[in-house]
């Protein structure tokens, strides 16, 4: 483990001084609410990072507080002095990752997940394909009936039961790399398909293409793009995150796109921060910043193009559970709501504390299952209070978590969760 000045640097020690310890982050922090102690608050974590940098505590003292953080970054939105908490968090994770004495089995499984799966389009497609096979072959039903999946480690069974239907491998291979706007072209966008989105929510990606072309956009889908690196960065694997970012930057530099569009709030936030990721890197900073400047959420582009009419009535009342990173990092707030209000439905109802994290948070709900479920339960209480029958989300992780929440509350018959893009398609989106 590095010491002294190098450690201070990696922990972003200087940044910790921007925290004036006013505590304004406490009421917005989901883990402070459910875990009820200062070590699980942003102010507490920042202070502990500072204490580690000053050698007053050991790395292991910091581990639990950092690992239990969702990384939702609601604290940044509440912070009156604009502390860059995300930066401090990722620095701490990187240091902990380095200090960690991991078991051989854990190392192998992490290497499989991070080094091979998330960074390989082929792997992610394979997961998509395997999941498809699993669903269609009847294995899923059998497993659910016999409860085998309940025994799987990391509660995979719980999550597995809320996966969507998947397209066949043939459909997956047939996707083009260019889609033309329907009617006159207003804009050209690059589409970052995302690894999880493309593997498990392929249908949503297809719908995204559909909406964008109908709204008047040409779409470019560079094949050499890869995972955005969000999960790597959030796990402290900064070097890996940077390697992935470089591949994406190169892939999109070759295209003449006005915007780089994504439909997953978490990815969008990471893409938006590529510039920050390469800060101080002479070769990459400006290229990364140029990439980030073009990043937009699908809702922003649709709102700007204003090219859609919605022709079919959606049966139910709608509420929105926006992804934390869309709100707190991308600062996209109004666009999804204004589009949802254009949809013919029984109305839009705002959820109390909708900005609050649902507890999904990347792979948090797998790694910290119990803590995540406590956060989900408090989210579901607010969701129920709206009496909405459709919970719309803007990120794959949140969508699975919402589906799980509906299941936990026994509301499967009356409430469903759906991705924002899929709802707009269901609402009969057509070109204006």
């Amino acid at each position: 483990m590095s010491t002294g000045a190098a450690l201070k640097d990696r922990l972003h020690y200087k940044e910790t001084f921007n925290c004036v310890q006013c505590g304004y982050c406490l009421p917005v922090c989901p883990t402070y609410e459910t875990m009820k102690s200062e070590v699980h608050s942003p102010r507490g974590r920042i202070n502990l990072v500072k204490m580690l940098a000053e050698d007053k505590i050991k790395a292991e003292d910091l581990r639990e507080p950092i690992e239990k953080c969702l990384g939702c970054r609601a604290c940044e939105t509440a912070c009156p002095t604009s502390v860059q908490y995300g930066k401090i968090l990722e620095g701490a994770k990187e240091v902990l990752e380095f200090a960690e004495q991991k078991s051989r089995a854990q190392k192998i499984s992490e290497s499989l997940i991070f080094d091979q799966m998330f960074s390989s389009k082929r792997w992610m497609n394979t997961i998509g394909n395997l999941s498809w096979f699993y669903q269609k072959s009847g294995l899923q039903k059998m497993a659910q009936r016999t409860g085998i999946t309940q025994l799987a480690p990391l509660h995979m069974g719980t999550f597995e039961s809320v996966l969507p239907d998947l397209p066949s491998p043939a459909e997956r291979k047939n996707r083009a790399r260019l889609y033309k706007a329907i009617g006159s072209r207003k804009i050209t966008v690059g589409f970052i398909t995302g690894c999880v989105m493309d593997a498990i929510f392929y249908e949503t990606n297809r719908n995204t293409i559909d909406l964008l072309t109908k709204a008047g956009a040409d779409i470019l889908i560079p094949e050499s793009q890869t995972c955005c690196g969000a999960l790597h960065a959030h796990a402290g694997k900064i070097a890996d995150a940077k390697a992935l970012a470089k591949r994406n930057i190169e892939a999109f530099e070759k295209e003449e796109a006005d915007y780089i569009v994504n439909n997953a709030g978490g990815c969008g936030a990471t893409l938006l921060e590529y510039g920050e990721l390469f800060k101080g890197n002479i070769e990459w900073e400006s290229r990364a910043q140029a990439f980030s400047n073009k990043v937009r959420d699908i809702s922003q582009v649709l709102a700007e193009l204003d090219g859609l009419n919605f022709t079919k009535e959606v049966n139910g009342t709608i509420t929105l559970q926006p992804s934390c990173h869309m709100i707190n990092v991308q600062k996209v707030k109004d666009e999804p709501i204004s589009l949802l209000k254009q949809v013919k439905s029984k109305g839009y109802r705002e959820m109390k504390d909708k900005e609050r994290c649902c507890g999904s948070a990347g792979i948090y709900n797998i790694v910290n299952y119990e803590d995540s479920m406590e956060i989900l339960d408090s989210k579901m209480k607010n969701a129920k209070d709206t009496n909405a029958s459709i919970i719309v989300t803007s990120n794959p992780g949140c969508l699975l978590q919402m589906k799980l929440g509906i299941q936990r509350e026994g509301l499967e018959k009356s409430v469903r969760a759906i991705h924002f893009v899929d709802l707009l398609i269901e609402a009969g989106a057509v070109s204006k």
């Binding site: 310890q21 200062e38 202070n47 003292d61």
Partner: protein
């Protein structure tokens, strides 16, 4: 220590006791200066727990530090002598409004803003509104006697407390006051406890007075080219028979800082902006606003804007809200003072502050509650810069002197805590301070509760360096 821990564990559920280094460091600070490591942190949830812990602390001679959510700007909850921190913030479950009595009864960990929000459901209001009301606990507000912008018209925390339940430093549970507005039975211990900064007892329940919520409000922004004229305008409004709910001022440095931080179109060449909010019956405030407008016509250097609707009003207040985040963009450390002067002395205080800024070459920004003389001179600095911090310490000392010389006080709403303790004798005199000490000694003979606050130690000086 081992024996003490064994005793603690026999009386408190284990999930409420924190002893890890990470936990202890996490309760070592507040929003002011310094970090002091306690030996144990206990989340207390009822008066019996507190009573038995205080009795224990007396027999072991261990200091006890009650703490809300640690938003104090004066060091109130800092465990300066180690010992036990009692985290009261999780005792937040009881908040009951009695609309027919116009009172609220609350447990100490309830958030201040939640009280007002609950009261509003009954058409009532809990007026004290410190800017941290959405974070701070009522227990902390009571201990520090917190104020806020509405203090001008409605007063501060102490004006709304009619009854308390308190655990004394020796662990006895007592009640003071009651549920009635009028109560002259014996000494007013309620008022003694409020603002005693946790040195005389731990508040376990408070009965708070509520008032009818005004049906409407109206906001005005007045921009002055001349700071002295803004001071004169404040006096003129306050003597015109109108009492605004809020009257806030931003000086030129604050205006520039906000504009640099987030351009709102504020005039950066102006010397002061006054924000005035009236509340009451819609017709009444309409008339009052006209009167204020007329008053302003007497001044040459002013431009006045009245908000047409709530959105516009909010955009005016946004400027004031942005001062704090804007100024720390300049340098990371903020020394936030709350020296207060008689209202007529506001222009003199501004003059003094200007001199202090120049004398010590510091970045001094002034904003705050102009209507009640409670200015917030904020010094923006970097606590890692020792040379600068020495100048800041001297400047702070001179700000206190200036306020006291003008007939004012060290603290309008933040409390004395650790930071202002060295200046107590300057304001109160030796005999005045000694009377306070004697009260403390009688209430807390073993000096268990929050030692190291309010009263200066021998030779104690203001230190803002870490």
């Amino acid at each position: 220590m081992e024996l003490l821990m064994k005793e603690i564990r026999s009386m408190i559920p284990s999930d409420q006791i924190f002893t890890s280094l990470a936990d202890r460091y996490s309760y070592s600070y507040d929003a002011s200066f310094g970090s002091y490591l306690p030996e144990v942190v206990i989340q207390v949830k009822n008066k019996e727990e507190i009573s038995s812990l205080l009795k224990l602390a007396n027999s072991f001679n261990i200091p006890v530090y009650p703490r809300g959510q640690g938003t104090s700007l004066s060091g109130g909850p800092l465990p300066v002598k180690g010992g036990m921190v009692l985290d009261m913030s999780q005792w937040n479950g009881d908040l009951k409004i009695y609309p027919d009595d116009l009172v609220a009864v609350v447990s100490p960990g309830v958030l201040t803003a939640d009280i007002n929000q609950e009261a509003e459901k009954f058409g009532l209001m809990y007026p004290p509104d410190p800017s941290s009301a959405h974070v701070s606990t009522i227990g902390g507000n009571l201990a520090e006697n917190s104020g806020g912008p509405r203090g001008l018209k409605y007063g501060v925390t102490k004006d709304y407390v009619i009854g308390l339940e308190v655990v004394t430093p020796e662990g006895e549970i007592i009640k003071t006051g009651g549920k009635t507005i009028k109560n002259v039975t014996g000494y007013d211990l309620t008022k003694l406890i409020v603002g005693s900064e946790g040195t005389l007892g731990i508040i376990t329940e408070a009965t708070l007075k509520l008032v009818p919520k005004p049906p409407a409000s109206k906001t005005m922004m007045a921009v002055f080219d001349d700071l002295v004229q803004s001071g004169q305008a404040i006096s003129k409004i306050l003597t015109s028979g109108i009492l605004p709910a809020k009257m806030e001022i931003m000086d030129q440095s604050s205006i520039i800082a906000v504009e640099n931080y987030q351009p709102l179109g504020l005039p950066i060449d102006a010397e002061a902006i006054l924000l005035i909010e009236l509340d009451g019956h819609p017709l009444a405030i309409e008339e009052e606003m006209k009167t204020i407008e007329e008053i302003f016509t007497d001044f040459e250097s002013v431009k006045v804007k009245i908000a047409e609707n709530q959105d516009e009003a909010q955009s005016y207040w946004r400027a004031r809200k942005l001062v704090s985040p804007a100024i720390v963009k300049i340098k990371p450390t903020k020394v936030s003072e709350d020296a207060t002067v008689p209202r007529s002395k506001i222009p003199d205080m501004f003059q003094k502050l200007k001199e202090i800024r120049e004398k010590y070459d510091i970045h001094l920004v002034v904003f705050g509650h102009a209507g009640d003389g409670n200015l917030h001179p904020n010094i923006i600095c970097d606590k890692r810069d020792t040379e600068e911090m020495i100048r800041v310490e001297k400047a702070v000392e001179e700000i206190f002197k200036a306020a006291v010389e003008l007939g004012g006080t060290l603290s309008g709403e933040h409390g004395i805590g650790t930071l202002k303790a060295p200046f107590m004798e300057m304001e109160l005199g030796a005999a005045g301070l000694d009377m306070m000490k004697r009260i403390k000694q009688i209430w807390d003979p073993n000096n268990i509760l929050n030692p190291g606050k309010i009263f200066p130690e021998e030779g104690q000086k203001l230190v803002l360096r870490e």
